[in-house]
């Protein structure tokens, strides 16, 4: 005797959070059943495997039907088809849009195109996340990207408004959208020590300071694209390294104020010109798209790695960058104070965030 049809429909849609997670994680019904078996649910409830199988199928069907609505969360809120309490709706949306750290590190900064989607099986085998889950996460990124890409107003707010995500998750998505748009390279081996959180922090800093939205709050793409004018102007900073006098003066000012305060004084003094050149050169090249993409590699290769090899502590880096930034203000010949601050404040925040093992 086989059950052709086996369904359970509640007036209030029954949602099992455990099964939902298994579904999100891309497990097939039979995998989900065996995972649930291992959790010892049968012993707790005295149920049989058949019951578990039927229950899992039921939930999967429900989630499958809900998925269409989850693509546009506002529909889920207003639809009449499934009666779901608001707190449950929020849970469904939040979990559906949640992503795996391992996955996001693979995809962050990549173009959200069909090509990338095709490569997801590699990502899947590398991360151990099921292909189904990878696809969901990728599609989520792409969907959010498509919706907010061309929109005015704050990126985070737009995401929040359209996808009804929590503040935290909306910020993460803002970072993902920002990275995907500028295609920052994050996958190189040298960058592997950086977490998504590091990148998300950097993205937030860059959105706040370097995008069009930072100066004008009423333009298209204001939070997504970097302020081209600003990038153009960054070339002006080159004077700090091109002018030898200025560079020396800058160095002596920094050294004077850091003497006795920094633990790696000698190394700092020896390396100052290299570090300064690295930071200023990066600034001047950011107008090129390719250099924008390499932004994080540059930061790591040209600043973080030299410092690390000289065993700078985080505090040393902080002291140095603070002093390095403020000392430039006292250089009379240097006239791009505002520009310098706009550039350096973000660089400093990013470097400090990224300076860890």
């Amino acid at each position: 005797m086989t059950n052709d049809l086996d369904i359970f429909v509640g007036n209030t849609t029954l949602i099992d959070e455990e099964v939902y997670q298994l579904w999100l994680d891309g497990y097939s019904v039979s995998d989900a059943v065996s995972l649930r078996l291992r959790s010892g649910i049968l012993e707790q409830t005295g149920a049989t495997v058949d019951v578990l199988q039927s229950d899992t199928m039921d939930h999967y069907r429900t989630f499958h039907m809900l998925e269409r609505l989850l693509h546009t969360p506002s529909k889920l809120i207003h639809q009449l088809h499934f009666q779901i309490p608001p707190s449950r709706q929020a849970m469904l949306i939040e979990r559906y849009y949640a992503f795996d750290e391992a996955f996001v590190r693979e995809v962050l900064g990549k173009k959200l195109s069909k090509g990338t989607k095709k490569d997801l099986d590699d990502v899947s085998s590398k991360t151990g996340i099921t292909l189904k889950s990878c696809r969901r996460q990728f599609d989520n990124f792409k969907r959010v990207f498509k919706v907010v890409e061309e929109m005015r107003g704050s990126l985070v707010e737009n995401i929040q408004q359209h996808f009804l995500l929590s503040d935290r998750l909306a910020r993460d998505y803002a970072a993902i959208v920002f990275f995907a748009n500028s295609r920052f390279e994050t996958g190189k081996k040298k960058l592997q020590f950086l977490t998504f959180e590091d990148f998300a922090y950097c993205a937030e800093q860059m959105i706040q300071n370097w995008t069009l939205g930072a100066v004008d709050s009423n333009v298209d793409d204001m939070d997504v694209d970097l302020d081209k004018e600003f990038l153009q102007e960054l070339k002006e900073l080159k004077v700090l390294i091109a002018d030898k006098d200025l560079l020396d003066l800058h160095k002596s000012l920094v050294c004077t104020s850091l003497r006795g305060k920094i633990s790696v004084y000698n190394e700092m003094e020896a390396n100052f010109k290299n570090l300064s050149r690295a930071l200023v050169n990066m600034a001047s090249k950011l107008i090129h798209t390719k250099d924008v993409r390499d932004f994080f590699i540059d930061l790591v290769e040209k600043f973080i790695e030299p410092c690390k090899s000289d065993k700078w502590t985080l505090n040393d880096v902080r002291l140095f960058l603070t002093q390095y930034t403020t000392s430039a203000h006292t250089l009379d010949a240097f006239r791009h104070q505002a520009l310098w601050d706009r550039y350096m404040s973000t660089i400093k925040s990013c470097l400090l965030k990224m300076y860890h093992d």
């Binding site: 005797m1 086989t2 059950n3 052709d4 049809l5 086996d6 369904i7 359970f8 429909v9 509640g10 007036n11 209030t12 849609t13 029954l14 409830t45 005295g46 149920a47 049989t48 058949d50 019951v51 578990l52 039927s54 229950d55 199928m57 039921d58 069907r61 429900t62 499958h64 039907m65 529909k75 809120i77 207003h78 639809q79 009449l80 088809h81 499934f82 009666q83 309490p85 608001p86």
Partner: protein
């Protein structure tokens, strides 16, 4: 031109993409009523159109208003080709036709397409201006209220219960018309939906006319069913109970919606310290019942004896103020009391005639006192061969006319147009005569059903034979009924009856003559009163009466049975089915009896036996709720007797089985907390103070002269039920008895409204429908394997439910309703609809404590007043009996102990029900004050009085619905929503949907298809209720779920018919927000003893 229907199309949302090129839709709407159609403008390129149309006005007869549904079609405009339909919304405007229900229908409706399901939503506003029609010969019956609820609806009181009403309408089924061959499935489905909508509208109108003829104003327990007879047509039939209802406009007098019947049962347990028992104090909603009702009695006494002003208040002045309103009828009651008693003896008034024809009542719960005795279940079945229904309107388009000879015992002519009517009349006649044989003049809990397979149809009717209190049924005794309605205290009815029947057990007493019994049965003196005979077991189709005294909890008991039959045609088929039927009935009955004994219980309520006919088998499924009635004897065990006593191994086997059975019985007794006091060991461990108290009394009593009776009672225990194992079949039966697994801990189930022994429901409810279709392996089907398969199917389904709902523990599945269908060979479909309600184990303890403390605190305050009042009640023994709550409560507490009345005062432990007495005395006090103020006849004082009452009772007359953002609509098959109070009935919901697919695999197979469809049906019901302004559906029932599939063609079709009552409920917690009036004004007597002595 008696009505103007106005419709406004506001907006749409989430429409589907109809134009692939633009990914958008150019939507417009057609609004159709009768033959008139209006259109909105096209709203181009949007999935969220804002039509904001003008008011479309239809000027129509009220007859059409009742029959026709409003049809709204959303289309996509297409310049070059035909416009594509997106979907439709049918709106039943019936709820707008009676004044007390909804005034406007406004809200978002899912746009439904029979092929694609829900496709977006549309916002519609509908209003009706009804002009008064004074035409006496009108065909419409606007204003007659319909309720699916099978008890008197909560905000009404029954003035008269007139009796049975039935009607049926027949038509050709569009699915089988020749035109169906050339039209699209969508068109065919829509034609069917529309036709059924029309037919049920017409049916309702016709029933309404009968109601008006009977001088009623409402139909309660309205049950409408469709018989899809295939080629021979479509029958829509309905039965119901005609009542004259009166709205209780002052909510302070309303009972809470919580299971009223609970309350009386609790009473003996009230001061129980054990959390497992189910008592409630004044702070639980349940108690409100007591509050609201008992005082009204005393109130009426008061008003009639001392306050003449009140009696002058005209009855029509209802709604103005509490005092005046209530006073009138009560006064009248007293005057008429003797008069009606006389009338009653003189014989029935002529208005009685119609009801006399079939004294049936579809109600399953009654005002106390209505039910005098219950005889037992009566049922009748008849096998008929379907023939094309003679319907002149469709003669023209009938293509092939295969004519069948009618297999009909009374040899009705098949050409007779009223064939179906005659069939039912015949069955009803049989039921009536069965009832008569049981010494009963009425049938309650009556229902009818059919099972159709090809051209064979089994018609079934069943009910519970009963003796009713005649005073209820007479038009002249409306106040009597009113009083009944208001007084939930049992024992009231002893007046006017020749013999006094004690409250908790009266209904169990046999109505038939002991020496002239219609069937063999053990009769024993009632365990309660020891005066009347009771049967050893009692089967009924009704809910457990409120006054019934029960020990422990109840449980769902099912008997399941399959019988193979040969495939046959026409008469031969019908004959073989009718030959099988008696055996099935017998076996179902035996199984029920065995299972009942196995549970250690002695009565079944809500019994529903469904016999389903298929191509090659018959299925029988009986569901009922078993309980242990204190009035009936303890069931004996089950004894197994082997046939071959010499075989040692066999004997061992038998004794092993016997042991297993005994263990199961013992386990069940523990599980359901059945510990009748006769067994001394259990007294110690008993969580119930009531049995303890009782046993003490029994002992003390046995010292007196009642020895004989005691002996007589114990006789029941020896009466074990013997099962003979003489062949493998019997062995199977015994095995199957033992395979029924009890629900996991924390779960209870019943198929009645409420579960005896549980009362502290939380508002956490989950209504659900579960469907399983199982295909039997074709090889070697025998009755045994079939039985086992069917049994497993049902058991697994239950297990699955328990697992799914495990987060609701502790919980009870209430109103579990199984239906079985045999859609094709070797395929069984089981559909279950029920509601899971979480209850609170701990709350009971707390609430039961409160009243006791209160009593102590208040004991000394305000003594004289409350003393004078109840004493006055008792001063006139004749009249006070029905009115005095004190007496009744006392009786209730003590009578079931079997102590003679004179002994009561001394033997009953007063403290055990002191808190109970509190509650009503509190109320008496409260009322007394209300009356005093009310008698000033100034509105100001009335206003002053009512907030006190309301505040205290935690009622508030203004319904306030909070969920403005997301309108949550609760659904339940019960007549109430736990933890909430129904403030308004908005009208009946009766919807019929068809869903079809030609891409079954793509929609997730049969499960995906049906899952989505049922969810859609729920959604559409919710949307209609929300648009009526409601927030809940009570008495919800899925009457039909016909599923057909053709996997080879990748097709499936399903028809669903649901109904229920749309209501507005207000959560009790919201009501409690209202500050409670200082309770000092209401004082308590020291103990009940003060009252009675």
């Amino acid at each position: 031109m008696p009505g103007k229907l106005k419709v406004k199309i506001v907006a749409g949302r989430h429409l589907p993409v109809m134009d692939r090129a633009s990914d958008l839709t150019d939507a417009f709407v057609e609004v159709k009523f009768g033959n008139t159609t209006f259109k909105t403008d096209v709203y181009p390129k949007s999935l969220n159109p804002q039509w904001n149309s003008e008011w479309f006005k239809f000027e129509v007869d009220d007859e059409d208003l009742q029959d026709e549904p409003l049809q709204i079609t959303v289309l996509d405009h297409d310049t070059y080709s035909a416009n594509d339909a997106i979907g439709k919304v049918y709106i039943d405007i019936d709820p707008l036709l009676y004044s007390e229900a909804a005034t406007v229908i406004s809200g978002w409706f899912p746009i439904y397409d029979t092929i694609h399901g829900i496709r977006g939503e549309i916002n519609v506003v509908v209003k009706v201006d009804l002009f008064n029609d004074l035409n006496r010969f009108r065909q419409s019956s606007c204003g007659v209220k319909f309720f699916c609820t099978t008890s008197i609806p909560k905000c009404y009181r029954a003035v008269v219960i007139h009796g049975f009403v039935e009607e049926l309408v027949v038509n050709e089924d569009p699915e089988y018309q020749w035109i169906d061959r050339i039209r699209t499935p969508r068109a065919s489905n829509e034609a069917r939906q529309r036709l059924i909508s029309l037919m049920s509208g017409e049916l309702q109108r016709k029933i309404g006319l009968k109601v008006l003829e009977m001088r009623g104003n409402a139909v309660v327990g309205y049950l409408q069913c469709f018989d899809l007879e295939g080629e021979s047509g479509l029958v829509v039939r309905a039965i119901g109970t005609v009542c004259t209802l009166d709205k209780i406009s002052n909510t302070a007098f309303l009972p809470a919606c919580n299971s009223p019947s609970k309350e009386m049962k609790e009473i003996p347990f009230n001061e129980d310290p054990n959390p497992n028992t189910h008592s409630s104090g004044p702070s639980t909603p349940l108690k409100n019942q007591t509050y609201s009702f008992s005082p009204s009695k005393s109130y009426s006494r008061q008003s009639s004896s001392s306050d003449t002003d009140l009696s002058l208040t005209p009855k029509t002045g209802m709604g103005s103020g509490s005092a005046g309103k209530e006073g009138g009828p009560f006064k009248a009651l007293l005057r008429q009391q003797t008069q009606t008693a006389l009338e009653q003896r003189e014989g029935s008034p002529h208005r009685f005639c119609r009801r006399r024809e079939f004294p049936f009542f579809t109600l399953t719960a009654f005002p106390p006192g209505f039910l005098v005795h219950v005889g037992g279940v009566v049922s009748a079945r008849s096998v008929k061969l379907l023939d094309r229904i003679h319907n002149p309107a469709f003669v023209g388009i009938m293509g092939n006319t295969r004519s069948y000879k009618l297999l009909d015992w009374n040899s009705f002519n098949s050409d007779e147009p009223e064939t179906r009517d005659a069939w039912w009349a015949e069955i009803r006649q049989e039921i009536k005569s069965h009832a008569k044989a049981l010494g009963c003049h009425a049938v309650v809990g009556y229902s009818e059903s059919t099972s159709i397979c090809e051209e064979v149809c089994i018609l079934s009717a069943s009910g519970t034979a009963a003796v009713l209190n005649p005073r209820f049924l007479q038009d002249g005794t409306m106040e009597g009924c009113l009083e009944q309605r208001l007084s939930w205290q049992p024992g009231f009815f002893s007046i006017g009856l020749e013999e006094t029947s004690p409250p908790g057990c009266g209904f169990c007493h046999i109505p038939y003559d002991e020496l002239n019994m219609p069937f063999p049965a053990h009769l024993i003196y009632c365990y309660n009163c020891r005066k009347q005979k009771v049967p050893d077991v009692l089967f009924t189709t009704i809910d457990l009466p409120a006054e019934a005294m029960v020990i422990g909890k109840g449980c769902l008991i099912q008997a399941r049975l399959c019988r193979l039959k040969k495939k046959a045609q026409a008469e031969a088929n019908a004959t073989s089915i009718s030959n099988l039927l008696p055996f099935m009935e017998y076996e179902v009955h035996t199984q029920l009896m065995n299972k009942l004994k196995l549970k250690g219980m002695n009565a079944l309520f809500g019994l529903r036996i469904q016999i389903t006919v298929g191509e090659n088998m018959l299925m029988g499924l009986a569901s009922a709720t078993g309980v242990y009635l204190t009035a009936l004897p303890t069931p004996g065990g089950i004894q197994i007797a082997g046939k071959t006593p010499n075989d040692g191994a066999y004997e061992q086997h038998v004794s092993h089985m016997q042991k297993k059975i005994n263990d199961t019985i013992a386990k069940n007794k523990e599980l359901y907390e059945i510990n009748p006091p006769e067994i001394p060991e259990e007294i110690i461990g008993s969580p119930f103070p009531e049995p303890r108290q009782r046993s003490r009394l029994l002992r003390s009593q046995s010292e007196s002269s009642d020895e004989v009776m005691e002996l007589d009672l114990s006789h029941g225990k020896k009466d074990a039920f013997v099962l003979e194992i003489d062949d493998t079949d019997a062995m199977e039966d015994v095995h199957s008895l033992l395979t029924d697994v009890p629900p996991p801990p924390g779960f209870y189930s019943c198929n009645t409204e409420i579960m005896p022994g549980i009362n502290n429901w939380t508002s956490d409810i989950q209504m659900f429908t579960s469907v399983r279709v199982s295909r039997l392996s074709n090889i070697n089907l025998t009755n045994q394997t079939l039985n086992k398969n069917f049994n497993d199917l049902c058991e697994n389904l239950l297990k699955s439910l328990y697992f799914k709902l495990r987060s609701m523990i502790p919980c009870c599945l209430c109103h579990v309703n199984f239906t079985v269908a045999l859609p094709e060979d070797e395929v069984i479909q089981v559909t279950v609809t029920a509601v899971a309600i979480t209850f609170d184990k701990h709350q009971a303890l707390q609430t039961s404590r409160v009243p006791v403390e209160k009593t102590l605190q208040r004991a000394s305050t305000d003594n004289e007043e409350q003393l004078q009042f109840p004493l006055e009640l008792c001063s006139d023994p004749l009249v006070s009996q029905p009115f005095s709550p004190a007496k009744e409560v006392l009786e209730n507490a003590s009578s079931h102990t079997g102590v003679p009345a004179a002994q009561r005062a001394t033997s009953v432990d007063y403290s055990s029900f002191a808190d109970r007495c509190n509650s009503w005395i509190e109320l008496i006090k409260l009322k007394a004050q209300t009356i005093r103020r009310g008698s000033n006849k100034t509105t100001a004082s009335l206003d002053k009085a009512s907030p006190l009452a309301e505040g205290h009772l935690r009622h508030r007359s203004v319904p306030s619905c909070t969920n403005s953002t997301v309108s949550v609509v609760k659904m339940t098959p019960l007549s109430f929503i736990p933890g909430a109070k129904i403030t308004k009935y908005l009208g009946i919901i009766n919807m019929f949907f068809i869903r079809e697919t030609t891409s079954l695999r793509e929609e997730g197979g049969v499960s995906g298809f049906l899952h989505a469809f049922i969810a859609e049906v729920f959604a559409m019901v919710r949307a209609h209720v929300a648009a009526l302004g409601g927030n809940a559906v009570v008495s919800y029932i899925m009457k039909q779920c016909v599923f057909m599939e053709n996997p080879n063609k990748n097709q499936a079709q399903c028809l669903i018919n649901v109904s229920g009552d749309a209501v507005i409920v207000v959560r009790e917690s919201e009501l409690e927000m209202v500050p409670v009036q200082p309770s000092t004004a209401v004082s308590q007597p020291a103990s009940a003893g003060d009252v009675t002595t």
